[in-house]
């Protein structure tokens, strides 16, 4: 067992783990951050999407020791019910989601996209979300919410 030091959501934290352990497992099991989800373990559904230095990555097969000094951010740090991120507000307003399991990953990917592409076109949003899967068919509401948040000036 090795102690690994990580910067997560603005805090320096330590975790007992083995090299090769996926970042997702450390976030969920060592640090109790349950927002990012396990979906496939193969970097192909996006349920586990978090930010590493502001870039959305699949954390399910991202070895934790590769993170180094990078800053990790998860959905837990994006906004709260009293101070929601504009995307979270847009998802609430649009009643976006059915089972909601894919939402944490999708919101993290969309937040990074909006930060880099203010006021995007519909087709650009759809393309930006293609690395993430939704099985309930909430795609249209999700795209609409991202566009609304963009118009509302999401950071």
């Amino acid at each position: 067992m090795t102690v690994i030091s990580l910067r997560v959501n603005g805090e320096q934290v330590r975790a007992d783990t083995e090299p090769g352990t996926p970042l997702l497992t450390v976030l969920r099991n060592n640090l109790g951050l349950k927002a990012a989800k396990f979906g496939c373990g193969q970097s192909s559904c996006g349920a586990c999407t978090v930010w590493v230095d502001g870039r959305p990555i699949y954390s399910c097969d991202f070895p934790v020791e590769v993170v180094g000094d990078s800053e990790i951010r998860t959905l837990e740090s994006l906004g709260t019910e009293s101070e929601p991120h504009p995307l979270q507000q847009a998802f609430l307003d649009g009643q976006v989601g059915q089972c909601g399991y894919c939402l944490p990953g999708i919101i993290m990917r969309a937040a990074a996209f909006l930060r880099d592409h203010p006021a995007p076109r519909r087709a650009d949003v759809a393309e930006a979300l293609d690395p993430n899967l939704c099985r309930c068919g909430s795609h249209q509401r999700i795209i609409d919410a991202v566009l609304r948040a963009g118009r509302a000036g999401a950071p």
Partner: protein, 702 residues
């Protein structure tokens, strides 16, 4: 249905409601949240009937330790059946509380009403409340169904109760649940249903970390560890080295339809009007359609936790049926049912019988060997796509005579399929995967079909809704099951409506008729005609159809069905583009689900169901070789992505006061038919095999 089955099984108000002294009402239901918003809809029904603000009602966690037994949450019946029971319990409770307040205040009960939980006189004087009378009103009485029909007045939609947790990333799913001291488990799976665990090579065991415990029970193999990453790594290592011996070959996928027809099967005749001979002016049209197997392909993998203290077995599961699962687990282990408790915790959307129950049994089996330590089982993606129940492949032959006047006679429809249910307890078997592998367990028999009363399985929507001179419809349920099948959202209706609606367009073409006018001429039911007309109007059928057809490679297609021939009416018009692949640009869906409880909930279910049906229809099929299923990841089992998603417009025709019909499943068949017909309109080629991939289009041209 005259009386709600849920109410008949749980007649006492106290089974459904408990009122606390602070005025909070606890609502107990047996229907589970699958992401469809049922607890929100039931809260809306309950608070409206009680005269309570939504914030004063709490839906209790669903468990066999205290919830009413409502069977499975399936078949688009929850709002109707559970909703009727909740409404009856709440209406009766409200009457009892009003009577208690009236007796205390010495005023006639008929003069009192409840507003925001307070019982008031016509002058507005508060003479009691749910909270103040909580200890005095006995709810141990039978709930009476309200005499008047559902109040049809408009009510604002209650927002989804579960969404804030999900949008802010708070733990809510079963995958997020931890129990003190729990062990993480992974199960090592054979590549196909019937296989024998021949050998675990010694070097495979030697490579395992010392902290990993291997559990073998017959042909069931699992690993346990304190740490999830160690269990996962051990399972990966073992599954590469363990030697399975297939006990049965799978059919040749390229000849699946022929295989289905050649198997021994059980025939059920659903409509039996045969007319001898043909009219002179009739043209006989015939065609065959088929579809491969579909996977539920939940975005999460199945998960369960279990704890056994030597007597009581507690199981946490995202099952669709806590009581059937409890009974199946108890039956498999020969335990008393009262010694097994199943607690529901939300999982991801399941869309039918996915591996949730199997995972629960895995956890239960392992927890009986860990001396009281809880066990958490998580399936991997390959197992989720290949080891759980799948939706059967189907194939159908259709023929009919078409007269010069557009009349249809001698409609004949034969469909071959595996059964559509193997839920816990089916065919007298626990129906739990690992029970088929463990020592002393029982192998899984072939899946069966739900009864006529339950809406059928392979025969769901096999009987067309149109007025024909005569119709013969038969299902042939295949009795061998090399690939395990069970219920998927809409059961056989997705395929049957695809086949029927494709064939209706083929008949219209033979008659030289417009597909819309052709259908309307054969439908008497005004509600059916209304949804078809609304979808056509919304899509600009006519003008737009010509404009779309004028563009190369695009076309509009129509599909219609009344779900289970007794539930929601649904019509869809799809705008389809076929270039190097088939794309759906836009879908207009019109739906009549009777009285609408929560309008946004209906829209959400229809939008989602339509998009999922586009995915099934355009992209999805389970792939396999002779020795196992091979579509075990998202690359080999692709589902619709964001950039492939059509724009979906939903028109809801509300029928206040009419019986409630579920919205979750009605859209799949009409969308499949609309896409197939839109593809024909686009390229003039009739593709009769799903999915509508470039490969199947080329084969149809060939």
């Amino acid at each position: 249905m005259n009386r709600s089955a849920s109410l008949a099984a749980n007649p006492l108000i106290s089974s459904w409601l408990a009122v606390q002294e602070d005025g909070t009402v606890i609502l107990r239901v047996g229907k589970v949240e699958l992401g469809q918003g049922i607890h929100t809809a039931l809260t809306q029904i309950a608070t409206r009937e009680l005269g309570l603000p939504p914030g004063k009602l709490v839906v209790a966690p669903v468990s066999t330790a205290g919830s009413p037994d409502e069977g499975f949450t399936a078949g688009s019946l929850s709002t109707q059946v559970s909703g009727a029971a909740v409404r009856a319990a709440c209406a009766t409770a409200r009457r009892l509380f009003i009577e208690a307040a009236a007796a205390k205040a010495g005023v006639p009960a008929s003069s009192l009403s409840v507003i925001d939980g307070d019982i008031r006189t016509p002058e507005g004087e508060i003479v009691g409340s749910y909270g103040s009378l909580a200890g005095q009103v006995d709810l141990g009485f039978e709930a009476a169904e309200p005499s008047q029909e559902t109040d049809g007045s408009a009510q604002p939609d209650l927002q989804r109760l579960d969404l804030p947790d999900k949008i802010f990333g708070r733990p809510r799913f079963i995958q997020d649940l931890e129990l003190p001291g729990m062990l993480h488990a992974r199960v090592i799976r054979p590549p196909l249903l019937r296989a024998v665990l021949r050998d675990i090579p010694a070097d495979a065991r030697m490579r395992l970390a010392p902290s990993v415990q291997v559990v073998r029970d017959g042909d069931f193999l699992a690993v346990l560890s304190e740490r999830e990453e160690a269990a996962a790594a051990a399972a990966d290592g073992l599954s590469q080295r363990v030697i399975w011996e297939p006990a049965e070959e799978l059919p040749d996928q390229s000849r699946l339809a022929a295989w289905l027809r050649a198997q021994p099967s059980e025939t059920s005749v659903l409509a039996n009007e045969r007319k001898d001979g043909r009219e002179r002016d009739e043209t006989l049209v015939r065609a065959s359609y088929s579809r491969g197997l579909l996977a539920h392909a939940s975005i999460a993998t199945s998960c369960a936790l279990a704890r056994f203290d030597g007597r009581l077995l507690e199981v946490w599961s995202h099952t669709q049926g806590i009581y059937p699962l409890r009974d199946a687990i108890a039956g498999a282990f020969g335990m008393d049912r009262s010694d097994v408790v199943v607690r529901h915790v939300e999982g991801a959307g399941c869309y039918g019988h996915n591996p949730a129950d199997d995972a629960a049994f895995d956890a239960a089996l392992l927890a009986r060997r860990t001396e009281g330590r809880p066990v958490r089982v998580l399936w991997d993606r390959a197992a989720e796509l290949g080891s759980g129940p799948l939706a059967s492949a189907m194939t159908a032959d259709v023929s009919a005579g078409i007269g010069a006047d557009g009349s249809v006679s001698n409609w004949t429809y034969d469909v071959w399929s595996n059964g559509y249910t193997s839920r816990p307890g089916y065919a007298g078997n626990p129906g739990l995967l690992a029970n088929g592998y463990r020592h002393g367990g029982r192998p899984l028999p072939a899946s069966v079909d739900p009864s006529w009363e339950a809406g059928l399985g392979s025969g769901r929507n096999a009987v067309p809704a149109y007025t024909f001179g005569s119709a013969f419809v038969a299902t042939h349920r295949v009795r061998s099951m090399p690939i395990r099948t069970s219920a998927i959202r809409s059961l056989g209706a997705h395929f049957n409506v695809f086949a029927i609606e494709s064939f209706m367009d083929e008949l219209a073409a033979a008659a030289g008729a417009d597909p819309l006018a052709f259908r309307l001429a054969l439908l008497d039911d005004e509600r059916a005609r209304a949804v078809i007309s609304a979808a056509a109007e919304g899509a600009g059928w006519g003008q737009r159809r010509e404009a779309v057809a004028a563009r190369a490679d695009t076309g509009l297609g129509l599909g219609y069905a009344r779900y289970k021939n007794a539930g929601a009416y649904c019509a869809a018009v799809a705008e389809v583009e076929a270039t190097e692949s088939v794309r759906v640009r836009r879908i207009v869906v019109a739906v009549d689900v009777g009285h609408v409880v929560n309008m946004d909930g209906v829209r959400n279910q229809i939008e989602g169901g339509a998009v999922q049906a586009v995915s099934w229809t355009l992209k999805e099929q389970v792939r396999f070789g002779l020795d196992g299923i091979t579509s075990l990841n998202w690359e080999t089992y692709p589902v619709l992505r964001f950039s492939e998603t059509p724009h979906v417009d939903v028109v809801v025709i509300n029928r206040p006061g009419l019986p409630v019909a579920g919205a979750g499943e009605c859209v799949a068949g009409p969308v499949a038919g609309a896409i197939a017909n839109g593809l024909f309109a686009a390229i003039g080629v009739r593709v009769r095999t799903l999915p509508l991939t470039a490969e199947n289009v080329v084969q149809a041209i060939g």
